[in-house]
Amino acid sequence: MSRVTRFAARDPGPAARVAGFIAHLRGNGLRLGVGETETALAALTHITACDADETRRALKSVCAGNAEESARFDDLFDSYWLNAGRVRERSAPDRHKNADHSRNTRAAIGESSSARGQIHAPDDGAGAANGDGTGQLIASRSTSLMQHDMRKLVSPQDIAQAESIARRLAQAIADRRSRRRRAARRGDRLHFRRLIRQSLSTGGEPLRLPRKRRPDRTARITALCDVSGSMTIYARIFLAFLAGLIRADDATEAWLFQTRLVHISDALRDPDPLRALNRLTLLAEGFGGGSKIGASLDRFVRGPARQSVNSRSVVLILSDGYDTDPPEILADALVRLHRRGCRIVWLNPLKGWKDYAPITAAMAAALPHLDLFAAATTLADLAALAPELEHL
C-alpha cells in the first residue's frame, strides 16, 4: 500500500485539503465547481474517511461525471493523496501554478475562443503578394507563417452568389420535424388543454377546436473548414461558401482549422463584406501549412462543440482528408462528435476527381462515422447537394 501524502504543518485542515484536491482535479480537466467541493465534504461525513479506499470510491462517485473521468480518477487520486509520503506544500494551489498546470486542456480551449474576432496586427494590405516569387523550395514547417490575403481569394460578388446557395442548403437542412407538438391553426391532433379552457367561456360547449401539430425545428449548421496547404486552391470556393452560410442564418457557426482551430463566425458576420474579409485575413494568419485534422477536430469536440453542437446540428466538414495525425485520433473525435447526436457531412473536393477512392488513412478511418460523404469543388457542386441534404 502506498503511503499517504504528508501535508505541510501550516496547512489549514481537511476541508482545505479536499478543496485542494478539487482544484487538482480541475487542473486536470474535470469540470467541477464549488458545489462539488461541498458535496465531496458532505459525502466524506457518511463514510469512514480514514480509509483511503472508501474515500477514493466516495470521491469518485461525486467528482467523476462520465466513463472517461471515472477511469482516470484513480491515478489523479493517487497523485494527490498517496504521493508516497512526499510533503505537499500547499493544498490549494495558487492561481499561477494552476494556470500552468492546465495548459493542455483548458488553456487550449481558451486559446481558440480568445481568437474570436480579435485583430492581432494591423493589415498592410499586401499580404502574400510580398513574396519574391522565385519559387524556391524550402522545408515546410508544420505551421506556416505565410499570410494569405483572403481578399485575393474571395470577392464580395462570390459571397453574394455563395450566400444564395448557402441559403438554399440551409433551408434543405433546416426542415426537421419535431416529435413534440405545439398549438397550430391547422394541426393533426386536437389540443385538449386549450379546448377545455376555451369551452369554459361557451358554457362547456367546445365550439372551437384548437389543434396542435409537430412544428418544424431549425437545424443548426456548424461548419469546419480545413485551410491547410493542400486545400489552398479550394479556399476561394469554401470561404465564400462559409461566408454565405454564416450570413444566411444567425445560428450558424464556423471554424477554420489546420493546426489550430479559429472561430470565424463573428468576423464573417460583419455587415460590410469587405471588412469581414479583412478581419478573416487577420484571423487566418499562419494558415496554409500542414494539417492536423484529427487534433483540430478533437479540440473542437472537447471545447466549442459542447456549446454549439446538439442533436439538431449538422456538422459540415470541408477537408481533403490529408491528415498528419494518426487516423485513430480522427476516428475517435468523430465518434465523440456523433455521440452529441448530430449528423456529420464531409465535403471533400477530391471526391469530384475521376477514380478517386477514399484511401488516405484519415479518410478511410473517418468514413464509417459520416452521414454523408460528398464531392464539393465548385459552388455548383455545393448547390447540387441540396436534395441529398434533405434526406439526411
Binding site: R31, G33, G35, E36, T39, A42, A43, H46, I47, T48, D53, E54, R57, A58, K60, S61, V62, A64, G65, N66, A67, S70, A71, S178, R179, R180, R181, F192, R193, L195, I196, S199, L200, G203, G204, E205, P206, R306, N310, S311, R339, R340, G341
Partner: protein
C-alpha cells in the same frame, strides 16, 4: 461507519451483486439525497439496481421510461380531458355555472398523475427510476433538472406541489447521446461495467442457483471469452442469465458435449446477424474448449 458495506450485503441478499464502486456511489447518493446517474453498456444491470433498491427499502418503484418526444404531459401530469368535458356537460344540465364548475374540473380528481408527479406525492419515499434518460430530448432534460433540484412541480390551475418525501432517484443512460454537464453535476455518478469473472459467477449463482458449479464456471468463462471477441453487440449479464437458462432448458451439463445445442443456445447471447456469422461452430467450440 460501514453503511455502504451493509447496503452491498443487503443488495446481495436480494440477488444483486454490486461492485464496490457502485455500492459506494449508491450509499453516497442515498445519504446525500442526490440522484444517482448510472451509465454503462446495455444489459449490465443498471435498471435492476432500482428494482433491488426498491425491494431492499420496501419502497414503491416508480418507473419513467424515456423516449424521443417525451413531454411534460407524459412525464409529469395531464388533465383528464374526456372526464372534464363530461363534467362540464353534466353541470350545464344541472344548471350549475361559472367558477364552481371550473374549480371542480381543475381539482385533484381530474388530474392524471404521471410518474414524476406520482413520485413526489408519495407518503413513503419511493424509488424513482428514470430509465434511458439519454433517449429523451434536451428540453426534457432541462425540465427534469428543475424537478431534481427542488422536487416541486407547479401546475398552473392547482398551484405548486412540493414533495412530501424525497424520492430516491436513479437515472440510467447508455450513451445514445452525451448528457448535459448540468445534469451530470446534479447527480452522483457511477459507471457500471461488465463484471469480473468472480462477480459474474456470484451473480449467476444468486440468480440461477439450480445450475451446477462446474457448468456455471464454464458458462462464465465462455461468456467472458466471448466478450473479448470482436462483436457488434457484446453480451451483458442479462444475456448470460438467459444463456444459462437456455442451457439448463436444453439439459446440457457440459459445454463441449453437444456443439449443435451450444450453437442453438448462442441465440441468447448473440443478437445480430454479423455476430452470429462470426461465431461459427468451430469458434464456439474453441471458446468452450478453453473454458472447460
Amino acid at each position: 461507519m460501514q453503511g455502504w458495506r451493509d447496503l452491498q450485503r443487503g443488495m446481495a441478499e436480494h440477488g444483486y451483486i454490486a461492485g464496490d464502486d457502485l455500492a459506494m456511489a449508491l450509499h453516497i447518493a442515498l445519504s446525500l439525497e442526490r440522484p444517482l446517474l448510472l451509465e454503462g453498456a446495455a444489459g449490465v444491470g443498471k435498471t435492476e439496481v432500482a428494482r433491488v433498491l426498491a425491494a431492499l427499502k420496501s419502497a414503491r418503484l416508480i418507473r419513467l421510461q424515456c423516449y424521443e418526444g417525451l413531454d411534460a404531459a407524459q412525464a409529469i401530469y395531464e388533465w383528464n380531458y374526456p372526464r372534464q368535458l363530461l363534467a362540464i356537460r353534466a353541470a350545464a344540465e344541472g344548471g350549475e355555472t361559472g367558477p364552481g364548475v371550473e374549480a371542480r374540473i381543475f381539482s385533484d380528481e381530474y388530474l392524471l398523475e404521471r410518474p414524476l408527479l406520482q413520485a413526489i406525492r408519495q407518503t413513503e419515499p419511493p424509488v424513482l427510476l428514470i430509465d434511458e434518460i439519454d433517449r429523451a430530448d434536451e428540453e426534457f432534460e432541462a425540465y427534469l433538472l428543475e424537478i431534481l433540484s427542488d422536487f416541486q412541480i407547479s401546475i398552473p390551475e392547482l398551484g405548486t406541489i412540493t414533495a412530501t418525501t424525497r424520492p430516491m432517484v436513479i437515472l440510467t443512460a447508455n450513451g445514445t447521446r452525451d448528457l448535459s454537464d448540468a445534469l451530470r453535476r446534479r447527480c452522483i455518478y457511477a459507471h457500471v461495467d461488465y463484471p469480473e469473472r468472480d462477480a459474474e459467477l456470484a451473480i449467476l449463482h444468486a440468480r440461477a442457483a439450480q445450475i451446477e458449479t462446474q457448468l456455471a464456471r464454464q458458462i462464465i468463462a465462455f461468456v467472458q471469452a466471448l466478450r473479448r471477441e470482436d462483436l457488434e453487440k457484446t453480451p451483458g449479464i442479462a444475456e448470460t442469465l438467459d444463456f444459462a437458462a437456455a442451457l439448463a432448458g436444453l439439459g446440457i451439463n457440459d459445454l463441449t458435449d453437444d456443439p449443435t445445442a451450444l450453437q442453438a443456445a448462442l441465440a441468447t447471447l448473440l443478437k445480430t446477424q454479423t455476430d452470429r456469422a462470426n461465431i461459427t461452430t468451430e469458434v464456439a467450440q474453441r471458446l468452450a474448449g478453453r473454458a472447460a
